[in-house]
């Protein structure tokens, strides 16, 4: 069976978000929605490198920031993606060229639009 790249992004995002319903408590699920919401804008404003470094810094403790960092990192380092074979996204950013970096940034933004929507659809929101 063949899947389009959008289907693959959707599948990864859906699986990841549904797993968080079990692993994150209600408070952290709310945080995940909020941080997933602000990540694309942060990438647009500051670039992928700065945004991922910020999420890495905030994600020292397990929680929403760490989950988002790992999710983007896993996606960009998997087969067929710009940082294929690299240990994580920050390694990819620092070792690959400008062209790969621009591809990775564009890819992250389309991938995040799925994550953002699924997070709102499946995780616990404010007032619930």
């Amino acid at each position: 069976m063949e899947f389009t790249i959008q289907q693959q992004r959707a599948k990864k995002a859906l699986n990841a978000v549904q797993a968080l319903r079990v692993t994150l408590n209600i408070e952290k699920q709310k945080e995940f929605i909020s941080y997933a919401n602000s990540l694309p804008a942060m990438i647009h404003m500051n670039g992928l490198g700065q945004a991922m470094a910020f999420y890495k810094m905030k994600g020292k403790e397990p929680g929403a920031y760490a989950e988002l960092y790992n999710l983007v990192s896993d996606w960009l380092c998997r087969t067929g993606q710009p940082y294929q074979g690299k240990q994580d996204v920050l390694t990819g950013i620092t070792q690959c060229d400008m062209h790969q970096y621009q591809l990775a940034q564009a890819e992250t933004l389309v991938f995040m639009s799925w994550v953002k929507k699924f997070a709102k659809a499946f995780l616990a929101e404010e007032g619930q």
Binding site: S38, P40, M45, H99, S113
Partner: protein
Amino acid sequence: MTTKNALIGLWAETSIHAGAGSSVDGIDLPIQREGHSQWPCVFGSSVKGALRTKAEDKLGKDNTSITYVFGPDSSSDKASEHAGALLVSDARLLLLPVRSLTSHYKWVTCPAILQRLLRDAERLNISLKFTVPDVKESGIAITSATEATDLFLEEYRFTTNTADLTDLITVLAKITGIQSEELSDQLVIVSNDQFSYLAKYATPVTPHIAIDNEKKVVEKGALWYEETLAPETILYFALSAHKSRGDDMPAEAILNCITQGLFAESPYLQLGGNETVGMGWCKVTVLASEA
């Protein structure tokens, strides 16, 4: 049918938010873009609306020449009687202001944009003469600066190649009203691929919130991210005039209603949304066809 044409240059003096409405790539309120290239633009319907608003503000809503130029008001029962005599194109991107570590900002464009400008001008019977610089490599930026130094656009480093851009700068100055010296300092031409990337990601995105005035806290769910075109963005659009359907106003008179009647005393146009917070103000330059 004789048509009269003009090319209208727009120099954004404030941010422009001509919204596309729906969310893509995680930005809540993105700007309008062309479907195939993803270059920012302002749709012809928005431009025509802005022109009509300016005309109605000046002459009053029920003025008959407004009906001939723009067509009957869509909310009136005469909407199906005849079309307007004025054709308004999308406002197309010409120069994109991009932040640069090495100066205050650069006006960036690419070969594909400049070729399209030449084609548009030809269609409008306006003669523009310049050679489109050739740049294919992604790390190269063409400037007219005398000394070549590396150039930073956003967070990317470009190696500069110097070229004689005099003809191009003369044309751009004529379309936009920008001084040649300023263009000479700030104009940068990058490859089509690099331009596409900058046009997509070098636009400002700003967070907005609404405050609950009683409690002075953010209202629930009221945080959104809004994309705009930065001030100093340069766009242009085409105006073509036919003779009017109603009272045989000649094409030239129809075009003059806009180029003379609207812009002679106040060469400004307000485009897109967020008018009440100062957005969308463009300085207008008119370049009419000779024949």
